[in-house]
Amino acid sequence: MIEFFGWNMPVEFKGIIDEHMAVRKKAGLFDVSHMGEISVKGPEALEFLQYLTPNDVSRLFPIKAQYTALTTVKGTFVDDLLIYCLGENDYLLVVNAANTEKDYEWILSHKREFNVRMENESDCYTQMALQGPKALEILQSLTELKLEEMKMFGAGWGSIAGEEVLISRTGYTGEDGFEIYTLSLKPERIYNLILKSGKPFRLLPVGLGARDTLRLEATLLLYGNDIDDTTTVLEAGLGWLVKFKKGDFLGSTALLKQKEKGVKRKIVGFEITGRGIARSHYPVYVQGEKLSEVTSGTYSPYLKKSIGLTYLPIEFTEVGTEITIDIRGKLIPAKIIPLPFYKREKS
C-alpha cells in the first residue's frame, strides 16, 4: 500500500503485469474512490461550465458525460476531468484526486455573477471501475440497467445488490468498461459482489501500478506528469476537446492564437530502441542537445516494450525521428512512434 494524496492505496494485488493483462484480455476491478466529485447546479450551470471548459457542454443531456479540462486564461490545464449531465441544470464533475481541493477552489473563485451553486461531494461518493472485454457480461448479471444499449460516455441510474448506483460507460484504460458511482454507506458490498461474480471470468482486482501502465499504453494523459498549467490543450494533442464554435471560454483567446500561429511544441510518443526503461523526468536529447524531459514512461506489458511521452519542439516531432534518453547516466536510443501506443480492436 502507498500513500496517494491523502489516500491509502494498493500498488498491486497479484502483480502489475497479471493485472494489466487481465484488463486487456478479461476484466479488472479498480477502487477509484480517491477521485473527486464536485456538483455544479443552478439555472446558469450550463453557461458557467461552458465558460470554464473548452469542450461543448451543451452537447450533454441526462445522463451523459464528456472528457474535458478546466483551463487557465493561457489555455493550459488546471485539471482534466469528466463532466456528467445528471439532469437539467445539474452537473457532476469527476476530477483527479490530487486536484480535488484545487479544482473546487478554482471553480468557486470563478463563480462571478453566475447563478450557480457548487459542492465538493467527494467524501460521499465511492467510485469503482470495471474494465475489460468481459466487463459488460460481468456487470450485466448484477444490474437491471441495459448495458448493451449504453453508448460510450452514456450513463444511467440503476441498482446493484439493492444499492443505488450510477453506471457510466467510461474508463481510463483503453478498454470497454464501466465506472460505478454510489452514495451507499456499504459500497464494499458492491465491490465484493463484482469480484465474486467476475471470478469465473478471471476478473482480477487491480492496483495503482497497472492503472498507470494501462492508461499510458492507451495514451491517456496524466495530470502532473503529461499535462499541467504549463502545457496548453493544443500542445498536449487534445485539440479535439476544443470547440471554438461554442463561444468564448477561459483560454479561448490564447488557444485560438496558438491554433492560428501553430504550436511551437507538441507531445510525442516514443519507444526505446536500445535497452532500458524511460521514466518521468529523464532528460531527452535530440541531435545531441537536451530538449526536454520524459513526462511519463514505463515498460508496456501488452506491447512488451518501453514506451514514453515527452514534449518536443515541433520541428522534431515527426514519426521516426531518432532521439536519445538519458537513463541514469547512459544515453539510450529511442524513436518517435505514432500515438496512441495501443488502441483496442473494435468488436
Partner: protein
C-alpha cells in the same frame, strides 16, 4: 525456506560460495517487493566491485533498484539469460535467477553477512 549455504546482505542480495567463486542474486523477499522484473542491468565481465558497492540495477514495472555486491570481487560471469528473460528473477530468485559470479577478493568479508536463519529473523524484525 532460505538455502543453508547462502549468505545474505541487509540489502537482500545473497551469495553462495563455491571454492573461490561466489554466485550472487537477490532474495525471494526482494523479488516479491520489486514486483514483476522487466529489465536487469548486468555488469561487465572483468568489472571490479568493492564491499556493498552497486554493481547493477533491477527494474520492475514500478521501480528501479540498485543491487549491491555482498562482498568485494571481480566479475567472472554474468547471467545473460536475464537479458531476454528478466522474469527469471521472480520465478527462481535463488536458482535460475542468479545474476553474476565473482572471484571473491577476501573471504573474511563473509563474516559481515547473515546466515539463512539470521536473514529470516532479520526479515521478521522488519515486518513492524
Amino acid at each position: 525456506m532460505y538455502p543453508d549455504d547462502f549468505f545474505f546482505a541487509e540489502s537482500h542480495e545473497w551469495i553462495k560460495i563455491q571454492g573461490d567463486t561466489g554466485t550472487i542474486g537477490i532474495s525471494d523477499f526482494a523479488q516479491k517487493q520489486l514486483g514483476d522484473v522487466v529489465y536487469v542491468e548486468l555488469p561487465e565481465v572483468g568489472a571490479v566491485f568493492g564491499f556493498h558497492q552497486s554493481f547493477g540495477v533491477v527494474e520492475s514495472v514500478k521501480a528501479v533498484s540498485d543491487i549491491y555486491s555482498p562482498v568485494a570481487g571481480e566479475v567472472v560471469e554474468v547471467n545473460s539469460g536475464l537479458n531476454d528473460s528478466p522474469e527469471l528473477l521472480n520465478e527462481d530468485p535463488h536458482g535460475k535467477g542468479w545474476i553474476m559470479k565473482i572471484k571473491v577478493k577476501d573471504e573474511s568479508e563473509l563474516q559481515k553477512l547473515m546466515s539463512a536463519s539470521e536473514y529470516e529473523k532479520f526479515l521478521e524484525s522488519q515486518e513492524d
